[in-house]
């Protein structure tokens, strides 16, 4: 690290001050400290802002499903349910697709093709969520209503998951839109992790007579397991916190239903719709508590993801490859 080398350390404080070093250090320190300050303030604000609701409802906030601004009673279960269900649907769709694509990019495609495709994947990750919402409303919803939901009902209709009228909007649609949104994250991170797997691992498996796929699936992927899991956690955190695309296609009905065709609500969507129109202080604070829940969920998932990804990449890098 270049900081405070012997040169800087040997000069007196006054001479460093005169040359501007001490001033530069202090000024940049103030900027860096403000990042910490703002983050602490954000956590404090969510905690302090939800004090009424936390004290009044306690743990029941997560167990009851009445959301009634008129009688000032708030239970968050339908929102939590909707958030988890849509995130689960999105992961079920995005994980196989994303990992498959990452394997192709890291193991099969020539470097030029892989880099070009990765460039497009990066662009896909840059598409803002409101655009996904726009396409969700006008493209995915009609498709779901006319083709996909009737087809699912026809073939898998005996499952409670695929029953009920096909409105087009609902959990399934939100999950599909979320899946498209999180795929780039899974691909980018998994590809990086797979590329960091040392070359000898592949060569050893191939020299023992395994096919290309066997060496990939039984050696390379298990080696990178932790990092791939990390990419899935990142995607999950993103899916849980996503607001616009979900709000536009989930239907915004605070109800819990077994059917994926039914419309529901998510934590982020209810905050987006009600925060500025909260009728009472308790209503407002309940929404903030939902924000706190969302924050904690994503905080834990992001933390885990980072640990897993760093641990896996370093394991690969430790063998002498980047």
């Amino acid at each position: 690290m270049p900081s405070a080398g012997p040169v800087a350390g040997s000069r007196s404080f006054l001479s460093r001050l005169r040359e501007g070093d001490e001033i530069a250090r202090m000024v940049t320190f103030l900027f860096a400290a403000s990042v910490v300050l703002v983050t602490l303030l954000l956590v404090f604000d969510l905690w302090q802002g939800s004090v009424l609701s936390r004290h009044k409802f306690g743990f029941n906030f997560f167990r009851t499903s009445v959301w009634d601004p008129i009688f000032d009673h708030f239970g968050a279960l339908p929102f939590i349910y909707g958030t988890l269900v849509t995130a689960a649907v999105s992961l079920i769709l995005a994980v196989p697709l994303g990992i498959g694509a990452a394997i192709f990019l890291a193991e099969l495609a020539p470097a030029r093709v892989s880099d070009t495709l990765e460039f497009f994947i990066d662009l896909l990750a840059a598409v803002p969520s409101v655009i996904y919402g726009l396409l969700g409303v006008f493209i995915v919803v009609p498709l779901m209503r006319q083709y996909i939901q009737p087809a699912l009902k026809h073939t898998l209709g005996f499952l409670p998951l695929f029953q009920g009228p096909a409105y087009g909007i609902g959990f399934l649609t939100a999950g599909i839109v979320l899946a498209i949104m999180v795929i780039p994250y899974i691909i980018s991170v998994s590809r990086e992790v797979l590329l960091s797997v040392p070359r000898d691992q592949r060569e050893a498996a191939l020299s023992l007579g395994s096919t290309r796929w066997e060496s990939t699936w039984k050696v390379v992927v298990p080696y990178a397991r932790g990092g791939i899991l990390g990419s899935i956690f990142l995607a999950l955190a993103r899916a849980l916190g996503e607001t616009m695309a979900v709000t536009m296609v989930i239907g915004n009905t605070p109800a819990i239903s077994a059917s994926l065709f039914a419309s529901g609500y998510s934590i982020a969507a209810v905050i987006a719709n009600e925060l500025t129109e909260a009728t009472s202080n308790l209503h407002y604070q309940s929404l903030i508590e939902l924000g706190l829940v969302l924050f904690l969920l994503t905080f834990i998932l992001n933390g885990l993801a980072r640990l897993l990804i760093v641990a896996t990449s370093q394991r690969g890098a430790g063998m002498g490859h980047a």
């Binding site: 954000l42 990066d122 726009l134 607001t243 536009m248 905050i271 969302l294």
Partner: protein
């Protein structure tokens, strides 16, 4: 070839083909999105879109000039908040900090980076909107600026760290002070990377909608000032897409095309800047 080996080869070939299909499907999503936007939005873009105010319900025509100006103002404010904090914070991390303080700052930045945008919106609402009892351009810019900080900070730091130590040592050996070394040697050496970091952060917040719902709020007319609500492109797309009017839907598509075009162009430019040679020529 034994049946067993043949079977294994077939499985291998099939699964590898499937991974290719996965990649193709994922990448095609980008082109489908672009295609739909060009198809639906292309016909609705006209000169009026960029110069006129939104038309009243029922009247056709009109544009989103106020939202375009609003977005520009919001992004200007966001850059004023996010770029200096990210840039100077990164200089502190890369050049001055000790291990502990660097860990804390990095940890806070990563935390902030992971916060869902809607929660950033809540924060800006309770911190800026409630005390002033006003939805405002300022609060929207503040919310977007917060989101720019961690992206700018972390990537700028990485690019500063990538500057070889020999450059630092050479400057110091010539008698330059540390601050002078940073200003005249290190930052110029890393400027491509820093520019890329700032552009990517900018593109990221340009499409953010959720934090604006509680802060900039939206406005069907020209914003009256920095402390008044303003329209913004992403926020207009949201409101227009969920409204029941066909004419508004066409405008939403047009706005979507303009927004996505802007974001993709910034992304491509940013990556081009970076790839036109590494920041520091190797000796």
């Amino acid at each position: 070839m034994s049946p067993r080996l043949r079977w294994r080869k077939i499985v291998s070939g099939f699964m590898l083909t499937m991974t290719g299909a996965c990649a193709l499907v994922s990448v095609s999503a980008l082109f489908l999105i672009l295609g739909y936007l060009v198809y639906h939005g292309g016909t609705s873009i006209s000169w009026n879109f960029f110069t006129k105010l939104p038309a009243p319900v029922g009247e056709s025509g009109g544009g989103m000039a106020n939202a375009i100006l609003g977005s520009a103002k919001l992004l200007l404010l966001a850059s004023l908040v996010g770029v200096p904090i990210g840039f100077f914070g990164a200089i502190y991390l890369a050049e001055f900090s000790g291990a502990t303080s660097a860990f804390i700052v990095r940890y806070a930045a990563d935390l902030l980076n992971g916060v869902p945008s809607i929660v950033i919106g809540i924060f800006a609402y309770s911190l800026v909107v409630l005390p002033f009892k006003h939805f405002s351009t300022l609060s929207g810019g503040f919310a977007l600026g917060l989101m720019m900080i961690p992206i700018t900070l972390r990537s700028t730091e990485e690019f500063l760290r990538a500057v070889p130590n020999s450059l630092r040592e050479a400057a110091m050996a010539l008698g330059a002070s540390k601050s002078r070394t940073i200003a005249t040697v290190i930052v110029p050496a890393a400027y491509r990377g820093i520019l890329t970091a700032v552009l990517l952060a900018f593109a990221r917040v340009a499409g953010e909608t959720a934090p604006l719902l509680f802060t900039a709020f939206g406005n069907r007319f020209w914003s009256q000032g920095w402390n008044q609500p303003t329209a913004a492109l992403p926020e207009m797309i949201y409101r227009y897409a969920i409204a029941p009017y066909d004419d508004w839907h066409r405008q939403a598509w047009a706005a979507g095309l303009v927004l996505l075009g802007l974001i993709l162009v910034i992304n491509i430019v940013a990556r081009a800047i970076l790839s036109r040679g590494i920041a520091v020529p190797r000796s």
